[in-house]
Symmetry: C2
Subunit: 610 residues, 2 copies
């Protein structure tokens, strides 16, 4: 039996577009001679649909899409992901399901058992966990069909009290098929490879694994679909960060053989992403992502990881593999680069926008954001605005100009002095002669935010935000000022990672001027200001933030790790008391296992370490 994996980039709630893509994928699989084509989790509606699932109208549209797809599942079996109603009186209204369509009919529906409900995931909010496990029979073969998280419960510290493959294996399946929507983070591709292999090793069965690709607001799906034989060898694989179809044959004896055209050819010939539906002005021919990295799923198997940091015990508080991520960002920086480019590109395309606006300060954060945006959208579609204040240094403007000259994007220089002074004059009756303070610093930042939004509104740009994770963590930013924007490009990168990625971009030719990389970071909101006036050195701050945010280490553990307790107390207080600012921040492209935003939910009104 020849099984094709269709790795596609869906648009949440855009049934017309998603159905069209799936039908194109079916046609592509037919052309390859496949018996069965597998799509990713909730492919019909896009993942994650979130509270749209509470609308009966939305579920009806899912049903309609399934009916239409059925008519194309005539001579080929189709496994698609789609919600299905729970027919029982009790339990949540829906299951997260895999549908087998064949000969124009729904042949079988299997329910997801393990519902990820942590970090960015909310599946138990919508779905009843599956509680019956049956093999799917197709053309005489017995398929153990599972959905994403279902295969992730093999670690030392399992999140769930049951394991659906343990049930299915008793029914003598011939292979495993998994429909996933497994998001990117800089360590997750290895974890995913390891978990697929751990399942293959445990159950001694081949695995056909189909993952989604594409960015959905803040969540980037990176693909990497693959077919692995029972010995753990990757037979066929699709690249990360692009669409494609690949096929492998499950022989009668249970071997998995490559078949169909060469993977790379298939990926290249895959249907290009089309516009997401009128009236979206599609980007002029830009493809979804930058250069694709081919997966290396034959890398040595790791121990199957715990899926989520459960409450970290003191015993486990030492440095782990994950700790290396912040200390050696260069390990993952190429992937972060691709994820950010796809995150920007998909945001614009799916929202129906094409033009970005960026406040270019001459600092490293705006320089990197600008370079990434030019790569994602084309330099002609990215407009930089330089907004010098009375406290800006000359080199700031010169560096920002040099950057745009290199990138080739349009830019304007708009000094903010006149508006800033009008604010001070207008506020004089209230402020009197009180000394210069944070209020005046914020006023400059908000004047800039206001100018940027005015230009964005006037000409239809989307303002990209340049704040990094170190700033967002500590509250070192101005709400409605430099924290304004529609999408946070660097909000999941600590400052050290911003430098690492900037060096990565400069690896072949200098894109970001060396002066921007070399100078000390400054907000330039008062004379001679430096970040280090208000914040610890990033070389100390970033590892501390990482241990607190990604690793959930508390004051005692951080002191054990050698951080100064007074510094720990000060920094943790900054993080927790600034939640109100992050709460009003735009979506952040997620590249780490714990980004600010939908995946990190802490109370605003609280007094914990604050």
């Amino acid at each position: 039996m020849k099984i094709a994996l269709a790795q596609q980039n869906y648009h949440i709630g855009n049934f017309e577009y998603n159905t069209q893509r799936i039908i194109e994928g079916i046609a592509g699989a037919k052309a390859l001679g496949a018996d069965l084509v597998v799509f990713s989790e909730l492919s019909v509606c896009g993942y994650p649909p979130r509270d749209f699932l509470e609308f009966e109208d939305f579920i009806r549209r899912c049903d309609d899409a399934i009916r239409l797809i059925c008519t194309h599942a005539d001579t080929i079996g189709v496994l698609v992901g789609c919600p299905v109603r729970n027919p029982d009186r009790e339990g949540k209204d829906l299951f997260n399901a895999a549908w087998l369509l064949y000969e124009g009919k729904v042949q079988d529906i299997r329910h997801k058992t393990l519902l990820p409900t942590y970090d960015i995931f909310d599946e138990y909010r919508y779905f009843e966990p599956g509680f019956e496990w049956n093999i799917v029979e197709f053309k005489g073969r017995r398929l153990a069909v599972t959905i994403c998280e279902d295969i992730w419960n093999l670690g030392d510290n399992p999140l769930y009290r049951l394991c659906p493959m343990d049930k299915l294996i008793t029914q003598s399946p011939d292979c495993m098929v998994n429909l996933s929507a497994s998001p990117f983070d800089y360590a997750h591709a290895e974890e995913r490879g390891a978990i697929v292999r751990a399942n293959v090793d445990k159950y001694r069965l081949p695995m056909f694994y189909c993952n989604a690709v594409g960015s959905q607001t803040e969540i980037v799906f990176d693909g990497g679909s693959l077919a692995m034989d029972a010995s753990g060898r990757v037979v066929s694989a699709l690249p990360f960060f692009s669409e494609g179809i690949v096929m492998a044959e499950l022989t009668p004896s249970g071997e998995v053989l490559p078949c169909g055209p060469d993977d790379a050819e298939v990926a290249a010939s895959a249907t290009p992403l089309t516009a997401y539906g009128a009236p979206s002005p599609a980007l002029g021919g830009a493809s979804a992502a930058g250069a694709s990295t081919t997966a290396d799923p034959n890398a040595p198997a790791l121990v199957a990881p715990a899926r989520v940091p459960k409450v970290v015990t003191a015993a486990s508080a030492g440095f782990s593999r994950l700790d290396a991520d912040i200390l050696r960002p260069e390990l993952h920086i190429g992937r972060i680069h691709e994820a950010l480019v796809m995150g920007i590109s998909d945001y614009f395309r799916k929202m129906g926008f094409s033009k970005a606006l960026i406040a270019s300060s001459g600092g490293i954060d705006s320089a990197l954001t600008l370079a990434l945006a030019c790569e994602a959208l084309g330099a002609a579609n990215v407009r930089a605005v330089l907004l010098p204040s009375p406290y800006s240094t000359e080199h700031s403007v010169a560096d920002a100009v040099a950057l745009s000259e290199t990138l080739g994007n349009p830019y304007d220089i708009i000094p903010i002095r006149e508006v800033y002074e009008a604010f001070l004059h207008t506020l004089h009756p209230v402020f009197g002669d009180l000394p210069f303070s944070l209020a005046e610093e914020n006023l400059q930042s908000r004047t800039r935010g206001n100018i940027m939004m005015a230009i964005a509104n006037k000409f239809g740009y989307i303002l990209l935000n340049t704040s990094n994770k170190s700033e967002l963590a500590t509250g070192y930013g101005t709400l409605y000022g430099d924290m304004a924007g529609g999408l946070g490009v660097l909000g999941d990168l600590y400052k050290l990672q911003v430098y690492a990625l900037s060096r990565h971009l400069n690896r072949a030719a200098p894109i970001i001027p060396q002066n921007i990389l070399d100078k000390a970071p400054s907000a330039e909101l008062r004379p001679g200001q430096k970040d280090s006036d208000s914040l610890p050195d990033y070389a100390v701050l970033d590892p501390l933030l990482y241990q607190y945010i990604e690793r959930r280490q508390g004051p005692a553990e951080l002191a054990e790790q050698g951080f100064d307790p007074a510094l720990v107390s000060r920094v943790l207080r900054m993080v927790n008391t600034n939640e109100y600012k992050r709460n009003q921040f735009c979506p952040i492209i997620r590249v780490s296992p714990k980004a600010f935003g939908v995946g990190r939910r802490v109370p605003i009104v609280a007094k914990y370490l604050g």
Copy 2:
């Protein structure tokens, strides 16, 4: 056995404060002669602690608090809510638990079974569901101890596949005890009364029900703790929206008798709310809420409601009891009033602030917000700023001045013309001679936002936001302009409800000038502008929004209800395409079953009805 119910207002993560309150509650119950005192769900850490639960440090502080409380649980039994670690290798790390402390020791720990994971609730994110059910024995009596949601699975369409009381009833308990953190919404007190009674009726047992009180960021807990005998009679009850202790006796024959001082006396003599810990400048003597309404739990029992709208079927799409809420807001307006006052007051007190700033436009939304803030914080602590633009009408300023003169709060008048013109002049090189457009409207609004934030930053005010739910739903507001602020006071009230509440405030004496109630709503950002230029009449818009947002009705159902299909399409598109704005909005005091914010999670990048 005498059982006391301690209804208290906790501060999330403030273990020192919460422990002190619980110890005071124990002392109060001892003074009344109680054998057992019951506190609310997760009382030790405050509810909802959200992702703080992922920190081992946080759980250790919970343990420490329990140890300290134990030393006071010497001659009296104490039932408190606190997380407990899951000792098993499998499953989530924690249980949401009720701890019985007595004779200085932990006597028993019972686990919550039904974990609400919908709307504002995320409990399955953190907790393993309980899977063993045992009676708690205390002084020879058998208590069926459950936690909040555990008693809510009795409806026609149960959310869960099991019911913990069905397990416990087989062990012959003498009574039910429930520790709750059940939030306010304008219909929920009735639902809660009905569900307590439905349990009493089904199991023929008395119920001792202890709920939390107080506001936690956006979620208001309204109290209403009570003891009900097996016949469904409320024997003792605590008021809504204030702290207190009440007691009732469970006789050897299973009767429930009132005992201890009169309810009202107890409520009045309850320990006043103390400061939440240095360095919070506590409000000068202001109590947590306005006048308290006494519960009417003896109202006729309703059918036990479905806890959450599951996917609404076409058959159920007609008008229901809930539909009356938007059409007859006066039914609930008194409670909404109390909830908003508590929401403002607790936000400031728990954040350690005392002074509010409000942009006062002369319109109904800012007028109502100002009146509520003066009630919550004292008029001297609320500063209004009038910010007339070149397009403001004279009566706007006059009305806003009249309002502050009536309320007695300080106010300033700061015209925005100079700053607005400086912006236009600064932007001229970019804007050229393009005609006046939305950009210029937003510029005025953001100039105001900037001035308000500057004053707030300079003097330590918190800016209160005045946007209503109709505006937020349709995107009729300016990000970083009139959408700025730390807390959304009216963000869960449709415009019709804003009018209803304003009339309610004026019921005894005119507080809000009649002219503000009478004039047509306008943003006054261009000459002669009216809301009705951009939006349908609120009399049509609000019921439509209610059906879509609260009732999850889709286009087909709305057309069936008689709404014009073209209008439906236009309005639903406005709601869905403006999610990006709401995503950057501040927390909103929640008074409805479906508020914007943490309880409503929809994708930003999507194309559903948009």
